[in-house]
Amino acid sequence: MGAGEEAIGGRRLTKVVIIRDLWKSYGKVEVVKGVSFDVDEGTTTVIFGPSGAGKSTLLRCINMLYHPDRGTVFLRDIDLMKVGDKINYYRSKFGMVFQHFNLFNHMTVLDNVMIGPKVVKKIPRDEAKRIALESLEKVRMKDWCSRYPSQLSGGQKQRVGIARALAMDPEVILFDEPTSALDPELIGEVLQTMLDLAKEKKTMICVTHEMGFARAVASEMIFMDEGAVVERGSPEHFFTNPVNERTKRFLSRLTELYGHHESRNRFVDEK
């Protein structure tokens, strides 16, 4: 068996991302403290926790937007800490969806989605265009391809952001609180898109507090607080019997804020 693979109950699971003992500081402040976890292919991992817990930073360490101070990040069997100049190449194997969308405002929707394949993967223009339109079709934004980001609603922008990530055919998609900046009525369309992707067995790592989504599709949930992993397990584990005191407190606060997590659970039957 190659690195990153193990057999469980006869079924081979490939580990796409392996994080071991990751540490990252900003100046003197330790933001990520010794985080380790694995991500299996075709699964959705949800990371949640109070704000400032280092979740966004952790995500950015995974695709090496930030360089970790210590620890290892493996993409399949490649040690990303050691690839040096080729990091841009490997980074393109990750897709990232941002809380504030970060669409390229001076380009049309189509150009936004096309630019990755064209400039980074050096795919010829026509082929890149075809790929882009396919991605946009998937997020149901194909009709808007000649509009500019400033003409779109938040939910539409985020869906284009997802299309932009998809167009690169990534191994893993990283979501950094994709719905946190959206008005409530727009959250649904984005979650639906993410749900579709999960059902297609895309490997996803999501930082979010959308518990309904987590309960529906996550195979593992990780609770982080103050930069470290506090508790991890399946969604059932968290919603029926969390162990740690801090976890319990956070979940109950979430329930207060957002209403009982069951009631937001539009997706529970879809599993």
Binding site: L65, F98, H100, N102, F104, I115, V119, R164, A165, L174
Partner: protein, 221 residues
């Protein structure tokens, strides 16, 4: 006995011949300022701490020194030490350096307006920093910079009037010729003021409109 109109007309036709020189001085000066200013702005925003400090000091210096001093410095300074420098070149260097200080500031503000998320998004696709700057950051920054840059253009046109002290035959100098030749102290300068105004005013107007549009754009981000 020539009428006032004839006087004005003859003065005007003489003075206006300086316009091409004024415009080419503007172009070269602004161009030099751009070639120095833009890289410095990129250095300041994306370079390390030392880059930031250097550019900050440079900006400060170039904005504090009067253009007239720089013109004399280049014209007389170089003439007596290195070679016979034409007035045009001296003015172009002087105004170009002064402008580079302002343009560096303008582009820095514009680059910062673009926001770090854009760089993150570009790099998350696998772009190198250089690619990101070229394809994503700079195009947006230039749009943000436009109103202030148009202002700088207007300022440059006005500053070229200083070139007359080193004998460059632009608008101001020709106006001064007329004064010296006709002993008419005021009308030539009123004429040249009119010419400058007709050129500069539309530019500042457009800059103002772009400025208001930009405020709307930024708010909608």
């Amino acid at each position: 006995m020539s009428s006032l109109f004839d006087v004005l007309l003859s003065q005007f036709t003489f003075i206006i011949e300086g316009l091409p020189v004024t415009l080419s001085l503007t172009a070269y000066g602004l161009g030099l300022g751009f070639l120095i200013g833009l890289p410095l702005a990129i250095l300041r925003v994306y370079g390390g701490r030392r880059g930031r400090l250097f550019v900050a000091a440079y900006e400060r210096a170039m904005r504090s020194v009067p253009p007239l001093v720089l013109i004399f410095l280049f014209y007389f300074g170089i003439q007596t030490t290195v070679f016979e420098i034409p007035g045009f070149l001296a003015v172009m260097l002087a105004l170009g350096l002064c402008s580079s200080g302002y343009q560096s500031q303008i582009f820095r503000g514009a680059l910062e307006s673009v926001g770090s998320g854009q760089m993150d998004a570009a790099r998350s696709l696998g772009m190198s920093r250089l690619q990101a700057i070229r394809l994503v950051i700079a195009p947006q920054a230039l749009r943000f910079a436009l109103p202030s840059w148009a202002n700088e253009l207007a300022t440059m046109i006005k500053d070229t009037s200083l070139a007359f002290v080193v004998g460059v035959a632009e608008l101001m100098r020709r106006a001064d010729y007329v004064r010296a030749a006709t002993f008419d102290p005021v009308i030539p300068f009123l004429v040249v003021a009119g010419i400058y105004f007709v050129i500069v005013f539309p530019i500042t107007r457009i800059a103002g409109t772009w400025g208001r549009e930009k405020k709307r754009l930024v708010a909608g981000v």
